[in-house]
């Protein structure tokens, strides 16, 4: 590990009985954030995950816009998970307007989501997170020694991109998603061509699971309350109820009754808690812990093959869960493409404007993404609320850091800082998404 860059950006002061760790700019995460940890007398006194990414006021931006614009505007919140924003947006709008779409359109939305899970998880796993476990500063350094697997990883990401390009119109900020369905459906021949590439991608996804499951993982077990969508018949992506490993099981419209956000002075991103309970975990590990029995049979066999547990509470092993979800998404995409027989069917259903409030929640690669909109009788957005997964996970990240540092007080400074950054990267945080909102209170004297 090269220490020069870390020394420039971190400040570790170690006294006789106290230690302060401050990393001013987190590396290999999307967006701008820093971390501050203070220990004294062998106890962790304070942990702060500081987000200083500029807020971008998307919720305010949506006010006064037409309902049709919401999927395209919210997609711009993120370049790596735009499908998630579009899905949560259209589901919330359809909920408001009483629109029900036929199963084949649900399947196509699921296929689009598979594309995003593949490309987002692969990007994070190969280029941001794997270097941590192999002792490399970054993927560029890693690429000198791991050429073959990295090339396969990039091809895997490209397969995810191609699903999004075919069904969404382009890889970044897709343009084919609308309230009620899609603008246009591709021809079957285009899907069959894609299927051939996905079969190879599936092989690479399997190799990815085997590769990451052999990494060494730091020890940390956390008693998370995991929160994710749950569905009786499938590994939930965009349809279901909100469930938790502590017994929560609610309709999406009841999200605000059970969850709340609040501002902390050191972060431009809001933090989320379950009312009366505190922090919770959203994301791949939460999904896996709640829904693993719905993974495809071949994926279940692979999980047995690598000896992975049905419940995972070590956040460092989340990289294995991401690899499992990439493999599942390949299987699911191939299943849906094999069933595709719908190019002559309507690409969308009819939608009528009305005054209403609607709720939507889908599983972005990083976790549950909640949208709520209030429309007037002209279909104009009067109010919008968006809660991304990274802001929901902020408290969990801080608690992970607290516990990890507490259990590793004797670790040398440089190694501890590295592991703390790795602990944050366990979440694949998308900081730009989390800093979409800032409430401004003006007091005139």
């Amino acid at each position: 590990m090269s220490n020069n860059d870390n020394v420039k950006k971190l400040n570790v002061k170690s006294g006789m009985k106290s230690r302060t760790i401050q990393v001013d700019h987190l590396a290999r995460v999307e967006g701008a954030g820093s971390v501050y940890i203070k220990t004294k007398d062998n106890k962790v006194e304070d942990v702060k995950l500081k987000i200083f990414e500029h807020p971008r006021f998307f919720e305010a931006l949506l006010k006064g816009r037409e309902m049709w614009e919401a999927p395209d505007i919210t997609a711009r919140i993120c370049g790596i998970c735009p499908v998630a924003y579009q899905m949560s947006s259209v589901h919330a709008m359809e909920n408001a307007l009483g629109v029900s779409i036929p199963d084949y359109l649900h399947q196509l939305r699921r296929l689009l989501y598979c594309g995003e899970w593949i490309e987002s998880h692969t990007l994070h796993l190969y280029l941001l997170h794997a270097p941590d476990f192999l002792g490399f500063q970054d993927a560029i350094e890693m690429s000198k020694d791991h050429k073959e697997i990295l090339q396969k990883g990039l091809q895997l990401k490209k397969a995810g991109n191609e699903i999004i390009h075919l069904l969404g119109g382009r890889e970044i900020h897709p343009i084919n998603v609308k309230i009620g369905g899609f603008y246009k459906l591709p021809a079957k021949a285009q899907f069959l061509e894609l299927a051939e590439k996905l079969k190879t991608a599936r092989d690479y996804a399997y190799e990815t699971v085997k590769w990451v499951s052999a990494f060494d993982f730091p020890s940390l077990e956390r008693p998370y309350e995991c929160v994710a969508l749950s569905h009786p018949d499938e590994y939930a992506m965009s349809v279901g109820r909100i469930a938790s490993t502590s017994g929560l099981n609610i309709e999406i419209k009841d999200y605000d009754t059970h969850f709340e956000e609040h501002q902390v002075p050191y972060s431009t991103a809001l933090q989320s808690i379950i009312k009366g309970r505190g922090s919770y975990l959203a994301g791949p590990m939460a999904r896996y812990n709640i829904n693993h029995k719905h993974l495809s049979k071949p994926v279940q066999e692979t999980i047995k093959e690598i000896g992975f547990e049905p419940i995972c509470r070590n956040p460092f092993r989340s990289i294995i869960v991401r690899a499992i979800e990439i493999l599942y998404a390949c299987d699911e995409a191939l299943r849906i493409i094999a069933a595709y027989d719908w190019e002559k069917r309507p690409a969308s259903v009819n939608v009528e404007k009305k005054k209403a409030t609607g709720y939507g929640a889908t599983e972005a690669p990083r976790g549950l993404l909640y949208h709520r909109y209030t429309l007037n009788e002209k279909g104009v957005i009067e109010h919008a609320k968006i809660v991304p997964p990274t802001s929901q996970n902020q408290k969990s990240i801080e608690e992970d850091l607290h516990d990890f540092v507490s259990q590793n007080m004797s670790m040398p400074d440089q190694e501890l800082v590295w592991k703390c950054e790795q602990a944050i990267r366990n979440y694949d945080p998308c900081i730009s998404c989390s800093a979409h909102f800032l409430k401004i209170v003006r007091i005139d004297d």
Partner: protein
């Protein structure tokens, strides 16, 4: 099937970051002979392009400073481009990191040229600033004077 590709990288709706795409818009006349692509900087797509074409021209905008003229031609097989602010695109992957990764993976083209246009305004806008619009015109002229591009157009 052409071995030459010109890739405009950027975002049409972020002011001068649309310079790369604007160059591609103006080159559309040669699109039968040369492959033209508008890209938003996806690392996997870029590395694939580098590996699959013998001659790759990239056009991208950068933040200007006192040391950079209005535009610059860089031979990427001979020079290294280091970007100081690496948080320039989603998940912090810059074009220079894509190039470094491609180099380590032995996926570089034989001819690899970057046209870097100095921009100033990166706010939300679908307009280029006047100096950048001028640079776009000059870069288009320079590309049409590249030897392999001229030869390919003469054949077509």
């Amino acid at each position: 099937m052409t071995d030459i590709i010109i890739v405009g990288i950027g975002n049409r709706y972020r002011g001068d970051d649309g310079a790369g795409w604007a160059v591609i818009d103006k080159l559309i006349v040669i699109s039968k002979a040369i492959k033209l692509v508008r890209q938003q900087g996806d690392i996997a797509e870029l590395i694939d392009i580098f590996a699959n074409y013998k001659s790759v021209y990239l056009v991208d905008a950068c933040l200007s400073n006192a040391h950079i003229e209005s535009w610059k031609r860089i031979d990427l097989n001979k020079q290294t481009v280091i970007e100081e602010n690496l948080q320039t695109s989603t998940h912090g992957f810059s074009v220079s990191q894509a190039i470094s990764l491609a180099k380590n993976l032995n996926r570089l083209p034989d001819n690899f040229i970057l046209y870097m246009i100095s921009g100033d305004n990166y706010n939300i806008s679908d307009q280029l600033s006047p100096p950048v619009a001028g640079s776009v015109a000059q870069v288009v002229k320079a590309l049409l004077n590249e030897e392999d591009i001229k030869a390919c157009m003469n054949k077509a």
